[in-house]
């Protein structure tokens, strides 16, 4: 299996005079999970559709497992799964009939299809809906069914357009674990989403797009630390509320955006570990009863806002 599962080179998509995607290039290796961010009309869905072979690009190429998407569509079909933002289903079939049709369409043996249906229905909390008509499912259930439809053929490259839209909080939490699991299995995954906090948790790479162009691309750490931002947010949990906690440490140099909320203290400081250790010592010296002290996960929302795109959907 080649290490690079998805390769996009100079992908350009024009709709008449409108340039939806402008010379986009990147590779995605096995075990990579790329989160695509951008305002509406940035070109995320267009990129995904072109990568899936549903849209002929005006220029450039897309290769999946070494196959050119435009020239070897059927071969690509065996390796690529795409879940569009609006579920594509046959309403009058039952969940099981629909998934069996998908398995047949991918030329899978009936026994394997049955096993995979059992597995994914269970993993996506749809087992009790096996015999229900698709038309009777809620939006969130349909979304999960679409994910099941995408995963049943066990593709190596998975493209998901707004997969968490319509999921309840528990569903979203479970979905994050599911994606992390797929990533760890060595799949190459692209997820387009507006839920930035989720993306920061499970993505290995982030691509920020605007008007068809790339604004930022790299690992999550690279994107969030982009442009020399060597600082991060810290959260300190105090053993008890201290009214003047902020004042006690305000003299420490380098502290910014200090905010006290009850027994919780948030601020921005250098992300370097030695500096963090000195900071902790300083807080203890100031008499603060520190119960917990940790750097918050890289803040994707801030990184996104730093690009200056502005519109956050």
């Amino acid at each position: 299996m080649p290490e690079t599962l998805l390769s996009i080179r100079n992908l350009t998509v024009q709709y008449g005079r409108f340039l939806a995607v402008d010379a986009l290039s990147f590779d995605l290796a096995a075990g990579s999970l790329l989160g695509m961010i951008g305002p509406n009309g940035a070109g995320k869905t267009t990129t995904l559709r072109a990568a899936a072979g549903l849209l002929a690009p005006s220029g450039g190429t897309v290769h999946v497992m070494g196959y050119d998407v435009g020239r070897h569509a059927t071969a690509v079909g065996n390796h690529l799964g795409f879940a569009p933002d609006s579920p594509a289903v046959y309403e009058s079939l039952t969940v099981q009939e629909f998934l069996r049709f998908i398995g047949d369409a991918y030329g899978m043996p009936r026994r394997l299809v049955a096993e995979r249906i059992d597995m994914w229905l269970e993993q996506l909390w749809l087992t009790d809906k096996r015999g229900a008509r698709v038309s009777s499912l809620s939006r969130g259930m349909r979304q999960r069914l679409t994910v099941a439809r995408t995963l049943i053929p066990d593709p190596h490259v998975i493209l998901l357009d707004e997969p968490a839209a319509g999921l309840d909080p528990a569903g979203r939490m479970y979905f994050r674990k599911l994606l992390a699991g797929l990533r760890d299995q060595g799949k190459a995954i692209i997820v387009s989403s507006h839920i930035l906090a989720d993306l920061a948790e499970y993505c290995t790479h982030i691509l920020i797009m605007e008007r068809g162009r790339v604004r930022r691309f790299g690992t999550v750490a690279q994107v969030t630390d982009d442009a020399g931002h060597e600082r991060c947010l810290y959260r300190v949990q105090l053993a008890e509320p201290i009214g003047d906690a902020a004042a006690r440490i305000a003299h420490l140099s380098g502290l910014t955006r200090l905010a006290l909320s009850g027994d919780r203290l948030d601020f921005e400081y250098l992300s370097d570990r030695r500096a963090a250790a000195q900071l902790l010592r300083g807080m203890l010296d100031a008499g603060l009863p520190v119960a917990a002290f940790h750097a918050l996960a890289p803040n994707l929302e801030e990184a996104y806002l730093r690009t200056g795109i502005g519109q956050v959907d």
Binding site: Q14, R17, L19, L34, L55, A56, A88, D104, A105, P153
Partner: protein, 507 residues
């Protein structure tokens, strides 16, 4: 693993096999009950029973295969576009042909089962009970008619499927044909015998003569064979085009080679239609053919050919646009391939002339005089110039439309409407006004604006009048304008290509 998953799922969506069996049993009960009732009402005389029963069966067969079948196919395609399932099929490793066969067979399984039931029951009646018919000939004609019906149904279904896939299920060709027929569309058949041949009307006319009571038109029986062959070839072309379209929806409907084959076959069918029309000696269609002037049939045939030629022209212009854009974006786009696309108008001009002389050749002796007139150097030059400029203008018009993201079929219709047909409309209006004022005589050939249209030039050549050079000069001016506009559109493609910093691949 299923042989054709789409067939299976479409059967299930149509109600499944149980519903299919139920319909067959009900249908058989209905027609046998009808036969029994008619038999009793006619005091045991089998003749009226046979003819009435066979009439009902034939009508229902036509309804199943020619109306309900194609309508079901189109409905299935529309549903898959609306639900997004067509994209699901595209994502799967199913080949385009598998998808096409799934659509052609799955949605119509109940209708085909009903047809098969009627075929078995009808076959039994024709061979054992239909005593009112002339034994040998009628039986052969009935079975021959079944073959004609099946190939016509295949032709029509593949055409409807192609239209549905190309238009996201919106094009309702069944409805369009019904409406055109209801508003006198049948009038086109005597004008273009090739359409009558392909549409099975000639075959129907021949087969009808076996049942009509008079002398059967046995000598023209090969008309049915030609029609069957033509329908099968067209169906194959449509299936290939649909399969390609399913896999690559944004590419032209027909690839260049396929468009070329379609055009060649169309030319052959148009020439065969002219040749075979003389073989029809009985029936209403034969009388209609005889009533139409030769040059009108030639002109109508060429007009039909030029409409079909638009398919290849559109493909060439779109390909040229795509190659030009690819070249600008740094992709492979050989200059020779681009030049070849631009030479398509010349190829189409040669093909149109070939079809014209082919039709005149088989029209002997009536076509001989027209051929002599058309072969005169100046006349031929004017026709060649008019056709080449017409195709060139359309080529550029489509190219410009593609470059600016316009609807191509609308652009082409506009080109035909403004540059080719409007001069005739203007002439008609002028004639109507002038005849109201001073009863000025009007002749199509000497029309005021008609010579500005390539069709006008063609008509003038066919009726043997002097070439209107002023009209040709105006056509040349229009062609020059579109050459300039096409080049401008080509240069404008570069305006959209911007470069962004290349992003390093992920580590």
């Amino acid at each position: 693993m299923s042989v054709n998953p789409l067939f299976d799922v479409q059967v299930r969506l149509s109600g499944g096999w149980r519903v299919c069996y139920l319909f067959v049993v009900l249908y058989l009960a209905l027609i046998v009950g009808f036969a029994t009732l008619t038999y009793r009402l006619n005091s045991g005389d089998p003749a009226p029973v046979s003819s009435a029963w066979l009439g009902i069966v034939s009508a229902s067969q036509g309804f199943f295969l020619l109306l309900a079948g194609p309508a079901s196919i189109r409905k299935a395609v529309l549903r898959d576009f609306q639900t997004g399932m067509i994209e699901s099929h595209r994502l799967s490793p199913m080949s385009g042909y598998k998808v096409v066969l799934g659509y052609l067979t799955g949605p119509v399984v109940i209708l085909v089962a009903l047809y098969a039931a009627s075929l078995l029951a009808g076959g039994y009646f024709v061979t054992r009970v239909a005593l009112g018919l002339t034994a040998g000939q009628a039986i052969g004609a009935w079975w021959g008619g079944q073959v004609c019906l099946l190939t016509l149904a295949l032709f029509f279904s593949t055409l409807v499927l192609l239209g549905a896939v190309a238009s996201a299920g919106k094009a309702n060709l069944v409805g369009v044909i019904i409406v055109i027929s209801a508003f006198g569309g049948w009038a086109i058949l005597p004008l273009v015998p090739g359409v009558a041949l392909l549409g099975g009307v000639m075959s129907g006319n021949v087969l009808w003569s076996f049942f009509g009571g008079g002398a059967p038109n046995v000598g023209a029986a090969n008309v049915a064979a030609y029609a069957i062959l033509a329908q099968l070839v067209y169906s194959t072309i449509f299936i290939i085009a649909t399969a390609q379209r399913v896999r690559a929806p944004e590419r032209p409907l027909f690839s260049m080679p396929l468009a070329f084959v379609l055009l060649v076959v169309t030319g052959v069918v148009l020439i065969a239609g002219i040749a075979l029309r003389a073989a029809l000696t009985t029936g209403p269609l034969a009388r209609s053919f005889a009533d139409v002037g030769e040059w009108i049939q030639i002109f109508s045939g060429l007009l039909t050919f030029m409409v079909i030629a638009s398919v290849m022209l559109t493909t060439a212009a779109q390909d040229r646009f795509q190659l030009d854009r690819s070249a600008l974006l740094g992709d492979a786009a050989p200059a020779a391939a681009r030049r070849l696309r631009s030479a398509t108008p010349l190829l189409l001009t040669a093909m149109t002339l070939g079809v014209a002389f082919g039709m005149l050749r088989v029209m002997r002796p009536d076509g001989a005089q027209i051929a002599v007139e058309l072969a005169k150097p100046l006349t031929l030059l004017s026709v060649v110039a008019a056709l080449a400029m017409s195709f060139w203008v359309d080529f550029n018009w489509v190219y410009i439309g593609r470059a600016s993201g316009k609807n191509l079929s609308r652009a082409l219709l506009f080109s035909w409407g403004i540059l080719k047909l409007a001069p005739f409309v203007a002439d008609g209006l002028l004639t109507w006004l002038s005849s109201g004022l001073n009863s000025m005589a009007y002749s199509m050939g000497r029309g005021y604006f008609a010579p500005m249209s390539p069709f006008g030039t063609l008509i003038i050549a066919l009726i043997g009048e002097r070439t209107p050079w002023v009209g040709l000069i105006i056509q040349a001016a229009i062609a020059a304008f579109f050459t300039w506009a096409g080049r401008r559109a080509r240069r404008g493609l570069g305006n959209f290509v911007r470069s962004t910093p290349h992003v390093a691949p992920a580590a």
